[in-house]
């Protein structure tokens, strides 16, 4: 079946998630849908699977307009999706999961079908095993076979290689090629260019809810990268160079859990005065890195030193980091950094390190008033943190930050901020705070990283794949490293796997 999106738009309130998106996925091809986080890929797929209603435009299957009101409508037509996180029933067995959602037939016929399909694709699945005991990759295999058994003719894959082993990847890719060859329409949502390159026949790039590029294989990577991350920005005026000093943070042979792949790194040192930008796609290890430095995540292996003090491997680590004037500002402000139902003045009271019995409401109200003025926070001292908008929550967090901090760890500091507020945040960080302070920040915006950092670390799959001074690298290299384009062997491995099966 050919799937055609015509002028699809989607709004969430006043936010435009998709604007006039048109693309066609032809029968028997694998169509890649790429773009950075928040580009609109998932939203588009949710519309196709009936989970979300479109605000405008049409979806055509084989040239006919269709209405998708519920996920069931989509399933009836033969549209199926393989989700990033397994959407199965962990307490049921492989066979039971396999037989759900399709018209009921006898248990024997389900078993036969499962065995037949598993054999055809080279998957090894024990029908009676409980699914919770399996790996993510195996659960994905069951789901894939189930969709095939249910006669899915349009298959959507959302980041299918996240959390699966290289061996499973080497089985999955030929399977997908085989399915496309047999006439299935496959849409692959990904931000890993190496995988897109080895699988897709066509690629559409989304950026900020718009189609920015469409091309057939073979692909020209610089073009794709530019479409994904925007044109190479003109050389903007760099902030004043800061002088660097002693080592303030060092990590050695770290292994830590967290996010999808955890984090492994050999050795890393940050100096005072440095501004280090952490680039990488969502979940590649940047958040874990920041939390390790803040003492909030305890590494399974390895040592972390902050200002020549070794962080203990216990819950005390975050307190010790705090005493060394290390602050951490998480991206999820309301979840991790602010208190719902507690007023702005009370936040200042909580932040006040001087011990006192009373809350000192008057004094903290004055502080809040002053912060509201200095930081242009739209709110009153008695408002609670959850009354504030995202941008104002970030301003509040900065206002709460001790200006004498020596190590400032920021997770996506301009998240949800408009351009001017974002610039204001950076002015504050670089000019008001001490120039001796070491600033480490992560951001999904490559431009922000290139513009503000002196040094860039690029994370991919839980590892640092690039560590370079900003002056010695460029937009293209960082973007390539973010999408895994440094390891050429990996691609050839996968291609080899494909040719083996073919």
């Amino acid at each position: 079946m050919d799937v055609e999106f015509q002028h699809i738009s989607k709004r969430f309130g006043s936010v435009k998630a998709l604007t006039d998106v048109s693309l066609t996925a032809k029968q028997g091809t694998i169509h890649g849908l790429i773009g950075e986080n928040g580009a609109g890929k998932s939203t588009l797929m949710k519309i196709l699977t009936g989970y979300q209603a479109k605000s405008g435009g049409d979806i055509l299957i084989n040239g006919e307009k269709i209405a998708l009101k519920t996920p069931d409508d989509a399933a009836q037509i033969g549209i199926g999706m393989l989700y990033q996180e397994p959407m199965d029933f962990p307490h049921l067995t492989v066979l039971e999961n396999f037989s759900l959602g399709c018209p009921a037939i006898s248990r024997e016929r389900f078993t036969a079908s499962l065995k037949h399909l598993a054999y055809a694709f080279g998957f090894q699945l024990a029908p009676k095993r409980r699914v919770e005991l399996l790996t993510v990759g195996e659960r994905q295999q069951i789901e894939l076979l189930r969709l095939i058994h249910c006669e899915t003719s349009v298959l959507i894959l959302d980041e299918p290689t996240t959390g699966i082993s290289p061996a499973q990847k080497a089985l999955l890719f030929p399977a997908l090629k085989k399915l496309a060859h047999e006439g299935m329409t496959i849409l692959l949502v990904s931000h890993k260019l190496d995988e897109v390159a080895s699988l897709c026949d066509e690629v559409t790039v989304l950026r900020h809810g718009n189609v920015t590029h469409h091309t057939n294989a073979p692909f020209h990577f610089p073009e794709l990268l530019e479409a994904m991350f925007g044109a190479v920005p003109e050389q903007k005026e760099k902030p004043v160079a800061r002088s660097t000093g002693n080592a303030v943070l060092s990590m050695d042979k770290i292994q830590a859990g967290g996010e999808r792949q955890g984090l492994q790194l050999n050795s890393f040192t940050a100096k005072s005065g440095e501004i280090i930008g952490l680039a990488g796609l969502d979940g590649a290890g940047q958040s874990t890195f920041l939390r390790l430095a803040a003492g909030l995540t305890i590494p399974a292996k390895g040592e972390i030193q902050l200002f020549s003090t070794q962080l203990p491997k216990s819950k005390k680590a975050s307190r010790i980091a705090g005493n060394l004037q290390t602050v951490f500002l998480p991206a999820d402000r309301l979840e991790e950094a602010l208190f719902t139902d507690i007023s702005l003045s009370d936040h200042f009271s909580l932040r006040d390190k001087k011990s006192s019995f009373w809350q000192k409401n008057q004094k903290n109200k004055q502080r809040a008033d002053k912060a509201i003025q200095t930081f242009s926070i739209k709110g009153r001292p008695a408002d609670t943190a959850d009354d504030l908008s995202g941008g104002n929550q970030q301003r509040l967090l900065l206002a709460l930050l001790d200006p004498k901090s020596r190590m400032i760890l920021l997770e996506n500091p301009t998240r949800g901020l408009d351009i001017r507020s974002g610039q204001w945040v950076w002015e504050y960080l670089t000019q008001t705070l001490s120039s001796e302070a070491c600033i480490v920040f992560s951001s999904p915006e490559l431009d922000e990283i290139l513009h503000y950092s002196d040094r860039i670390l690029v994370f991919y799959d839980g590892k640092i794949v690039l560590d370079s001074l900003t002056a010695e690298t460029d937009h293209g290299s960082v973007a390539a490293a973010m999408t895994g384009m440094t390891g050429k062997e990996k691609i050839s491995n996968i291609e080899q796997g494909i040719s083996n099966v073919e």
Partner: protein, 338 residues
């Protein structure tokens, strides 16, 4: 605030409606029953003093629970903390060789707070160190405390010659907290309860400790960034709650029963849990709600005698109260979700 008043009215209506239905089914005269509950609780100063005698431990337990709930802890173990407080207090009262009653009672009061607090600490440690949710830890510790008090009453502390459910030997009169003539409530009990209310209000709403507990209750992850260790404050809040519960246990032995009985806690810990939830975890409605529950509790006692209804009926009525309270709370939750 208006919502709380509405909730209380709704709960009261439900209590009366539900109770009337039960009385009707039990073939008891409905209006008479309410009249007797009223007469049995608020009609005379003596009756009213009995109500106050229930009000005191309810207030102490409720104030303690406010601290625990502030940190988002469900201290179900409060029942066991009352029992352990009573045991700790009694241990001092039984100590031979001390002569000065004021000194003995003071020491006993302190001991009750310490044992109650320690029992709370145990539930807290199970949570912070052992990963046992405070509801299950507390429930388990309640059984242990109940077993311990039975063992004491039937074992080491039994009355000379006989061991009986009626408890240990009566305390000498000089160790009874003194009451106004004709009243069944000790001065000291009232004073302690009122002081506890005021102190709780001060700590929770005016002190930095109260603010920190609230912060931890709202968002323990964020608290870490403010250098507030959730574990430490969890322990502190549950110790305070246990100590207040221990005070309630002390009042039960020195002002009400004057001995140790197996049911020394009278279920006031559980009742206080419901009371605090019904009050929306705020301190202002608590004295009034506690008075209502205490009145019902005392008033229902004489129903079996006056109306010849089965003695279990008062229990059923209290059950109705609890169910109505839970129902109103459930409705409030649903309203929040909508």
């Amino acid at each position: 605030m208006v919502q709380i008043v509405k909730d209380i009215l709704a709960a009261a209506t439900l209590v009366f409606g539900f109770t009337s239905l039960v009385l009707f089914i039990a073939d008891a005269p409905v209006l008479d029953a309410f009249k007797h509950i009223w007469l049995g609780s608020f009609a005379s100063t003596m009756k009213f003093s009995q109500v106050l005698a229930v009000w005191v431990p309810l207030i102490l337990c409720s104030c303690g629970l406010l601290f625990a709930f502030r940190a988002n802890l469900w201290n179900i173990g409060i029942e066991g903390q009352v029992i352990m407080g009573a045991i700790g207090g009694m241990a001092v009262l039984r100590f031979p060789g001390l002569e000065n009653p004021v000194l003995i009672l003071t020491l006993s009061f302190i001991a009750a707070m310490i044992t109650g607090g320690a029992w709370g600490l145990l539930a807290g440690l199970l949570k912070t160190r052992g990963g046992v949710h405070e509801i299950f830890g507390g429930l388990g510790l309640n059984f242990v405390a109940q077993g311990f008090i039975l063992w004491l009453i039937f074992g080491p502390w039994k009355r000379p010659g006989i061991a009986s459910m009626s408890g240990t030997e009566l305390l000498p009169h000089k160790l009874w907290l003194s009451s106004p003539p004709g009243w069944r409530i000790a001065y000291a009990g009232l004073v302690v309860a009122i002081c506890t209310l005021i102190l709780t209000w001060l700590f929770l709403y005016k002190s930095k400790l109260g603010l920190k507990l609230k912060a931890i209750g709202k968002n323990p992850r964020a608290a870490l960034l403010y250098d507030i260790s959730p574990e430490g404050y969890y322990l502190l809040s549950i110790i305070i709650c246990g100590a207040f519960a221990g005070m309630a246990g002390f009042m039960q032995i020195t002002a009400v029963y004057h001995r140790l009985i197996p049911a020394i806690s009278s279920g006031y810990g559980y009742l206080a849990l419901l009371l605090v939830m019904l009050a929306g975890y705020r301190i202002v409605p608590i004295p009034f709600l506690a008075l209502f529950f205490a009145g019902l509790n005392v008033g229902a006692i004489q129903l079996p005698i006056v109306l010849q209804v089965d003695s279990t009926l008062s229990g059923v009525i209290q059950g109705c109260c609890v169910l109505s309270a839970l129902f109103v709370l459930g409705m409030r939750q649903r309203r929040k979700q909508l």
